[in-house]
Structures are given as structure tokens and as C-alpha cells.
Symmetry: C2
Subunit: 191 residues, 2 copies
């Protein structure tokens, strides 16, 4: 059993909490009214929109030292829906890793809509969570949580690959926003 | 019926030719020994590896004026398999469009392995071809070829989205190279 803390109570945070609970893990979920409550999980999921990450890091950076921190964001320009707000050769995950040098930062969950995490399926496929990061042990811990919750997990490589995961998440969001796919569809992975 | 020319006789060129032929379209396929043969198709698929594109453009640029040109490349650094060789904020498709200002350039087929184009399926799903481009009519023509050949087609937006399609193609290639997915698997699209 892993102790998980999820910062954020939106659709994504709730869906990830349900996956972890289904896998028998301990879940602490903290929202905007819990700013004085310390995170106790060994794995901390930043389930907040990208614009809110910097405030979370500022508030809780010290608490996150030594922990596995999971960035799930899609750093879109939500006004134009036509670009990312991070540098083209970087990623939100790389920025977060730079801001949290004492944490092991992973990118995950940004390529799965909340609906496909909650359902456990995307169309006829089991939902697959793509995980990028530079620490193999940390990736294994998160993959264990994901698979114990009934989903598939794939190691997508080093944290550098977060750039491609964020491009994929961005593309998928534009397809859903333009009604090319539904919010319960999108990309599935066939092994 | 559309007249299609495919430059390149590799796995991808053959698979795209088969899709078009299945849809009842006329296909001219040209290889390395056909440099003196003019392209006659209204739609021309550049089914050559990215490093060969510039030579094709130099040789046939004049012939491609007025035509729909389809870039299918994944511009990877194939020595490292760890980055793309185009600028991070651009794409191979954008470069080709700049080099062929009198053509209507589309990005397509780079997110589907040859095996899934040939089979028409990826796992339990019908193979989906994602098409990006700035000319809606050109996208419709290509989508018509794809769907008449039994595949799904999705308009993925403006040519600017080729950046994300190339990131997706890159990610998928790294997953296959690392045996996380097979060369007959990869990403499928659930509408």
C-alpha cells in the first residue's frame, strides 16, 4: 500500500483518487480549504490546473522534498486553445522539476481525460496511463498504483518525454474541444 | 476518383498506395529509379524519409505547384532516438510548406505505423489518419481517399498542429523502439 496525497478536488483529482482507492492505497485529498494541512503521502499528485501549480509549489515546496511528485497538467493557452504556454523545447514537468530539485518529478495522467480514468476504459480498450520521469523506482511506484486500480501503465521514458506527452495532451484537448472526439474518448494505446 | 502520386516505395508508400487503390483511386508510385518521370497526381504523397525530402523538393518543386502535397515524415534524430531534428517550435510540415509556397501542404499518416495502415485496424479499432493543414478543401480530398480505403480520417486542425502530430509520431516510435507497443499497435483514436 502506498500513501498518496492528491492536491486538487476537480474531475481529474477525483478520478485519480478513485483509481488509487480501488487499488487499496491510502488517499489524502486536499482542496483549496486545506492549505494548512500538510501533505502526508509519499506520492503527491498535483491535480490542479497549470496556472495554479506555481502557488502550490511556493506553498508546499518544502513539504514535497523527498517525495514523488506527479505533474498531470496540460499547460495550454486556454484563451486561444492554439498553443502551450511553456517554451516549445521544454515542458511544464521540466519547469516543476527545476522548481522542486529535492523531489522526484513524474509526468503522468495528462493524456487521459477524467472520464476515461473514471471508467477505466476508453472505447473497447483499457485506459493506459503514460508515465515519464528520470527515476525508474518512482515510475514503478506510480505504475503500481495505476495497475492496481485496474488501468494499464506504460513507461514513456525520461522526463524529457514530457514535452511529447504535453503535445499529445494538447492535441487531444483540441480534438475534444472541436468535437472530433468525445470527452470519454480520445487516444487509446494498443500494446 | 482522385489521381494520386506516391513518391517512395517503402513500407509506408506501399501501405498508402494500397489504401488509395482499395478506395478506387488512380495511383502512380515512383521510386528512386523514376527520377525522370513527372508526377501526374493531383495529390502527391512524399513517402520518403525526412532526410530525403529536401532532395525531392529540389528535384520536383516545380512539378508540385498547384498540387496537394502530403508530408508523412517523422523528423527524428535516428542516431539518438531522443529528439526531433526540426526546431522545437516548428515542424517538418511547416518547413516543407515554406519550401513549396505554390502547393497546398498537409501533414498526415505520420501517426500511423505502416502495419496499421495495411491492416486497416489497430487492435480492435479502425485505423485513424490524423490530417492537419491550412486548406480545408485539400484536407477533405485527402480524407475522402482515406475513408474510401476503409480507414477513419480526422481533421486535426491547421498546419500548425503538425508540431503536435510530429510529437505524437515521435513518442509512438520511441514506444515501439523500446518494445512498449508493437509495430502493429500504438495509438488508436476513439471518437
Amino acid at each position: 500500500m502506498t500513501n498518496l496525497s492528491i492536491l486538487g478536488t476537480g474531475n481529474m483529482g477525483q478520478a485519480i483518487a478513485a483509481v488509487a482507492a480501488k487499488g487499496g492505497h491510502s488517499v489524502q485529498q486536499l482542496g483549496e480549504n486545506d492549505l494548512d494541512t500538510a501533505v502526508r503521502g509519499d506520492v503527491v499528485v498535483l491535480a490542479v490546473p497549470y496556472p495554479a501549480v506555481s502557488a502550490v509549489v511556493a506553498l508546499r515546496g518544502d513539504q514535497l522534498a523527498g517525495k514523488i511528485v506527479v505533474d498531470i497538467t496540460n499547460p495550454l493557452n486556454f484563451e486561444t486553445f492554439d498553443s502551450l504556454v511553456v517554451p516549445a523545447d521544454s515542458s511544464a514537468a521540466a519547469e516543476i522539476a527545476a522548481a522542486l530539485p529535492q523531489s522526484r518529478v513524474l509526468k503522468a495522467f495528462n493524456t487521459t481525460f477524467a472520464g476515461t480514468l473514471a471508467a477505466g476504459t476508453v472505447g473497447p480498450l483499457t485506459t493506459t496511463v503514460l508515465i515519464a520521469g528520470d527515476d525508474s523506482d518512482a515510475k514503478s511506484v506510480l505504475a503500481g498504483i495505476v495497475t492496481s486500480g485496474g488501468l494499464n501503465a506504460i513507461d514513456a521514458g525520461a522526463l524529457k518525454r514530457a514535452r511529447e506527452l504535453e503535445a499529445l495532451g494538447f492535441l487531444q484537448l483540441t480534438l475534444a474541444a472541436n468535437e472530433k472526439v468525445s470527452w470519454t474518448g480520445g487516444f487509446g494505446v494498443i500494446a
